[in-house]
Symmetry: C2
């Protein structure tokens, strides 16, 4: 173990001088706090009544259903106690992230000892009745969840799905230069993929501008039913692993030696923690002096027995220090006198009589350990990010509009246009907005932002000819891990900042489950009055299913939308802007919103612009609407058919079909409806954005065929509209899982979403056309055959498709103002 | 670097003695192979014609759309060449797994050089025309994908979504003691979570009974648009990381020193590879001698320039050795004479005139490098697992039946019963069947299998009191990473074996995207005649949404089913067996099936048994059916209402509702239909299991209300049935994202899936009941209020619910034969 060299003048907020080793009574206090927290944890898991054991324990005092996790809890409590001491001494703002969040009782107990719990939940008072309620509510119907949850003060990290503790911690630390994030990683959790790569976050942290993360590997040896890998490799291997990850590991072992007094264990840990924090302070001081090279941050390996301080054996089987301590060790505490006795002995081993006064209030000497006010980890505003959240300063997106002289009269790569606006968003918000991506920010066409910012990178830097747009500080965070960037962004948002994540549409499924957990978090916080709203989680999926020209089938999957809409309607929003101006308008809306997950799908390849900015704003405000210029309706009459579309590629195919129809069947009354906000399709009862039935029936009619061309899996449109009056007349085309590496038009043909097939659909569905237009139908079939054959011959799309423009734009096209729309740019163009 | 000690008698298949360092002409040959493979790779990306450059290159020879990835390809080709030499010398069966499978042209080129390609695709002949076709088809409409894909001979690992190379490799190695799996890991890929944890696979490999994996970290420094983390940490850090992961790293660096001749580079790498393979042979020999302790397996760090051998600069920008080489470096080869010239120079640098004879056939000296027949990596049967697949020997599942004297007359934890049968499956198939789980095999109640097998574990072993059921060899594979176990299982199946994965229903979303890729693989292989069918990928999700009593909201999500049914109908099957005997029958079917993904959801908590084995077999064979004993139909008449159910918890609620209805409304004609095979609900045109309309209408009626109680999100049932005649009369109840830690009955009440609400639904939907049964309706509402209040008071479910049994089973219940069905077992019970 090394000794730290503490600089004379520490960085603001990072005190290291004057920190004294703990006095004997401080050690007593640490131990008393720990015992109190453990007592309150065990009490939550088991006790319905008799909270302070002022009477003998009887079966009626025990809960009928024992639900919770003990094993990790004493470790979390121990760390909380020691962090408290350090925070109080150093006045160090700190967020506590607990990977093993199944140790919910521990965090609740600590917040109760802190006082925060009673401040936030007035019913859980600081007296015997309060303790009784605290115990009873835990994992109890109508009470609180068994895991760390939004309900838990001080948490930004829900227990449940393991793997994201460090990504969340680093996300919280970005742009919080004075914040310490103490992040406990379970040794089981450490086996998950996301966690295993998240150690590398240290290559992306700027030691001056960002805060510090202190990872603490909770090496309690076991997970649910097995030993852990990291506990069963030689200590040197674990040491090398952590060094290889770029950390300086501090090894601590406690709780195994029965001859060592608890106070001595506390003394050793307090010293070790001081050393690690002094080292962080030294790093921060060096950084403040301008040394921004990647430091070797400390981390702690905390090897202690699982279920530490619990019963050593139960029914003759080793419990403490084994996986058997994971959940509720005494399953039969209520039913067998033996187990009841073990439980009582266990509870009394914490000497509750020394911890609570006659009224059931925790003794002030114990609570004196904690820091005050916002410095309490359970009360830090960073863990209730909405408290700190400020609106972004947003430049007027209208000023970034592309020029659209007539519909289809110009082309753009929509996200590239968005990038221009984002560049100024970054300029105006240099500390509260970041863009996250798995090595795809340029591929997804946001590279304009590099005009004003860089990719933050703190590993080795070779020079500008290969390391373009990389710097020690920057607003773009790129690592090839969807988990990592998603986790970082979540941590960043939960602590009160703003951001977006751009990823390939197919691979965003990688974080399906992380999205789930975040959406659940938002849903629950909506019902917690003291949790303040946070900025929405924004996705931009611009490498989408239809234009995987380079990549083929493995990259083709529009199902993230389906996944997302399974979550609560009040949380999720899905937008499919058909062109550049609608994308700008949509994203402006997203960056202003709160408490949502906004999924925006918008292709990156060159594509026609349909709406000028005023029309785009109106269209996006409505969320959907008739494009009168595209249809052939007669005012005052119901159309014969409605062509609906959602998504850029389907929109182009629908317009091309409308073009054919107006030429071939000039008398047919066609209405074209474009949908930007997918949730408008749903019933107003099902989704806050849902269109009222009357309005919906007006738009889509109640009895005319609707041919709907949709970006994703067609059944989603049925699902959204099945309650609508006219639903039986809806015929939806979309991606039906036919893909490969081919031309853009071949892709839509493979899935029957092409213009020719849409015309066929119209003929097949409009009663009057079935027999009369068999000739046109046949020509459409032939056009498909011809278009396919052309691709096989030329490797490219047939000119009549490739060069098609909306008829009003023919002049622009002829004079070369409309770029090719079926070109394929590479990843870095 | 260490020298290996090669034992006198190497293990079978692992020759190390007599391996000579390469002669000079062997080095020439290696280099010629490498040049040929590179030439064929570049040709695939760029050339439409003039394949052997027998004429000057003109723009017409260049493809109109340039789609593919060059950067990783020369490295993959280099390794292929060297592995070839080693395989030929050692006669070592080898599978080549390439993480950077976007380097598709390389694998195709190598398989062409091997001869395999022409054997499999007769049109791609070994002559100039064949080369022309080989080039043309690549990334071309109607041709082959740009990535390594099922179409690529020798592949078990699709390019596309990065992260699973090592998990697949280890999965392939399990139970293949004589197999070497050479696994290339991209340095970008190494940043993904799944890859970062998959290095730890070495703690789960048995050196005698399993094969060997040689990981090769392809440290070419860059990913799409950024440097990689592992390339930008000091070499010592990378060394420590690999040592920390338990490997012995061999560092190779080549291609940077312009003064070093290619032959010298080859000599150095051949020597290094020999050393690594000798070391593996030594490990295998020690293992054959009985030393099964975890060896320190070698791995290779292969540091070479990205795009090695390509143009150093393009347009004045560094290309080779940078991220700019990632995709297609000369985007304008067809359009600008400068780029065309660069392309021609590049192609000619491989000296094609020295590689092909006049007919365009690769010179025999070059192809002589390759091993023969099945030893060719492109032809190994292990990479076409169906060739090696043998049926499992399956014990008669009927013999494992639980006794069901009357419906509801006994209870069981269904997966525990399944576990008994699986125990014998393992006994009968000791080398070809494994169970995979993320630390949840016991929690998911399959622990009976430990009667006959153990969890395979090669990290430190402490002794039986904590390390129950762990051994150096065993059929159960547990690591706390859903990615890892999914990847292992995929590798195991793709190489011709059988298995299942058990996980929590909510967290199986973690591998949504891996499932996607596997399902796509199966879909594509169905159309490739030379690919033989493999065993299905079987899931068992027994910790499901309704019984997360311990865990609460974060663990509640039934959406994996929705995700799965987005994939092609011919691939996916979803089963919801309502009890133990139906689960047995279902799983027997799953383990016999091929080329599917079977998702089986079946709760782990005690639950009533409804069907005796003969009825269960009939019911599962039908996939759905009327439970006549549960309804109150009159023969010959149409029922007034149909109660449908799918899933164990909904089935119980429907039966309890049917019980209330028969008591309260004895004249109401109720039909109860249970669905095991969810795909039966779909149209026969949409899914091979779909029920014909006539049969469907017969079962569910075309005009009576159907109240359907479903396990998951209700809209899925609408999606599956919206084309059915009677769909407008369907009212579906399911999970609507309302969850928390509470009692089982409170959970169903939160989602309006409870018996009382189902009765209310019947009253609301059956026209004759609306006004006449307002009293009963009110009593049902009151019953809900009472049940909820009871939970708040007692923390448990109200006795009338908790103790409810199907009326026919009252005798059994009274005599204690029916266990409580709402108890909650812990994770390790
Ligand atoms: C991704 C994921 N897979 C599986 C689980 C189920 N699970 C809950 S706790 C646990 C063991 C955790 O072990 P560890 O991280 O070491 O925590 P501790 O030992 O401190 O309880 C598992 C596997 C989960 N919560 N998340
Ligand atoms: C999970 C995932 N995220 C993103 C991508 C997009 N992508 C394709 S190739 C690539 C870079 C790969 O770099 P590396 O693994 O180093 O391969 P190589 O340098 O050998 O090409 C990325 C990010 C992907 N294929 N998979
Ligand atoms: Mg642990
Ligand atoms: Mg690379």
């Amino acid at each position: 173990m090394t000794t730290s060299t503490v600089p004379e003048t520490p960085a603001a907020g990072w005190r290291a001088t004057g920190v004294a080793p703990p006095e004997p009574e401080e050690l007593e206090r640490l131990d008393a706090w720990w015992r109190a927290a453990n007592y309150l944890s065990v009490g939550q898991i088991y006790l319905l009544d008799n909270p302070l054991l002022r009477e003998k324990l009887t079966p009626e005092h025990v809960k009928p259903r024992l639900l919770g996790h003990w094993g990790t809890t004493p470790g979390l409590n121990f760390l909380y106690a020691h962090l408290n001491r350090a925070i109080a001494q150093r006045q160090q703002p700190t967020v506590y992230v607990t990977g093993p969040g199944h140790g919910g009782p521990g965090l609740v107990a600590s917040a109760y000892l802190d006082g925060t719990y009673s401040e936030v939940y007035s019913d859980i008072t600081q007296d015997t009745e309060g303790v009784r309620r605290l115990f009873r509510q835990f994992s109890f119907p109508g009470g609180i969840p068994s895991h760390v949850a939004p309900e838990t003060p001080g948490s930004i990290h829900e227990g449940g799905e393991l793997g994201y503790a460090l990504s969340h911690a680093y996300g919280a630390a970005f742009d919080n230069p004075d914040l310490l994030v103490a992040a406990v990683v379970g040794d089981g959790e450490a086996e998950t993929g996301p966690l295993a790569t998240s150690w590398h976050s240290n290559k992306f942290l700027n030691p001056a501008q960002d805060g510090a993360v202190l990872p603490i590997l909770h090496l309690n040896g076991y997970k649910i039913a097995n030993p852990t890998v990291l506990a069963r490799i030689p200590q040197e291997e674990l040491h090398d692993l952590m060094v290889g990850y770029g950390y300086k590991p501090y090894f601590f072992e406690g709780g195994f030696d029965e001859d060592e007094s608890p106070l001595e264990v506390h003394r050793r840990f307090a010293a070790l923690l001081d050393e690690a924090l002094d080292e962080i302070a030294a790093i921060k001081a060096r950084a403040a002096d301008g040394d921004l090279t990647r430091p070797t941050w400390p981390m702690i390996v905390f090897r202690t027995p699982k279920g530490w301080s619990g019963p050593a054996e139960i029914d003759g089987k080793k419990t403490t220090g084994s996986w058997r301590a994971h959940q509720v060790p005494l399953a039969n505490a209520r039913d067998t006198p033996e187990h009841l006795q073990v439980l009582e002995t266990w509870l009394r081993s914490y000497r509750p009589e020394e911890l609570f006064d006659d009224e059931g209030r925790v003794l002030p000497e114990i609570t004196a350990l904690a820091p005050h006010g916002d410095l309490r980890m359970s009360a830090t505003p960073h863990a209730n990010g909405g408290l700190l959240l400020k609106d972004l300063r947003l430049p007027d997106f209208r000023e970034y509009a592309v020029d659209v002289p007539v519909p289809g009269g110009s082309t753009a790569e929509a996200p590239r246009v968005l990038g221009q606006w984002l560049t100024d968003v970054i300029r105006l918000n240099p500390h509260t907005f970041r863009i996250f991506g798995p090595d795809e920010v340029a591929s997804n066409r946001l590279q304009a932002v590099y005009e004003t910012t860089d990719k933050q990178w703190n590993a080795e830097y070779l020079g500008p000819d290969v390391d373009e747009h990389m710097a020690r500080a920057g607003r773009v965070m790129e690592m090839l891990s969807e988990h990592q960037v998603q986790g970082w962004l979540e941590g960043y948002l939960l602590t009160g900042r703003h951001g977006l994540l751009t990823s390939y549409e197919a691979f965003i499924h990688i974080i399906d489950s992380m999205f789930n957990q975040h959406a659940k978090w938002l849903k629950v916080t909506n019902d917690i009055p003291w949790r303040r709203p946070i900025a929405s989680l924004n996705y931009l999926l611009s490498s989408h299913v239809w234009r995987q020209d380079h990549n083929g089938f493995s990259h083709q999957d529009p199902g993230f939308i389906d996944h997302v809409v399974n979550k609560k309607a009040e949380i999720v929003r899905v937008y499919l802007p058909p062109d550049a101006n609608t994308l700008l308008s949509t994203y402006d809306h997203c960056l202003r919103s709160r408490q949502y997950v906004n999924v925006v799908v918008s292709g990156k390849q060159p594509s026609p612009n349909w709406l000028d900015m005023p029309s785009a704003v109106e269209h996006c405000t409505r969320g959907l609407g008739i494009w009168e210029w595209a249809g052939t309706e007669e005012p005052g009459t119901t159309p014969d058919v409605v062509l609906g579309c959602a998504g850029d590629v389907p929109t182009m195919e629908v317009l091309a079909a409308a073009d054919i129809l107006r030429r071939e069947l000039p008398d047919l009354k066609v209405r074209v409806v474009n949908v930007v906000d997918l949730m408008r399709l749903q019933d107003a009862k099902e989704h806050p954005h849902g269109l009222p039935d009357r309005e919906f029936d007006g738009l889509f009619t109640a009895d005319r065929p609707v041919i709907f061309a949709y970006h994703g899996y067609p059944w989603l449109i049925h699902r959204l509209t099945y309650r609508r009056t006219g639903h039986d007349h809806w015929h939806v085309r979309g991606y039906k899982e036919e893909g490969t590496t081919t031309t853009p038009f071949d892709m839509v043909m493979l899935n029957d979403l092409d213009r020719y097939h849409l015309v066929i659909d119209v003929i097949d569905r409009v009663p009057s056309l079935g027999t009369t237009q068999a000739g046109l139908r046949q020509r459409m079939q032939d056009a498909r055959v011809r278009a396919r054959a052309w691709t096989r011959e030329h490797g490219d799309d047939i000119p009549e498709v490739r060069d098609w423009v909306w008829p009003d734009a023919q002049d622009q096209a002829d004079s070369g103002q409309v770029g090719a729309t079926l070109g394929t740019g590479g990843d870095n163009e």
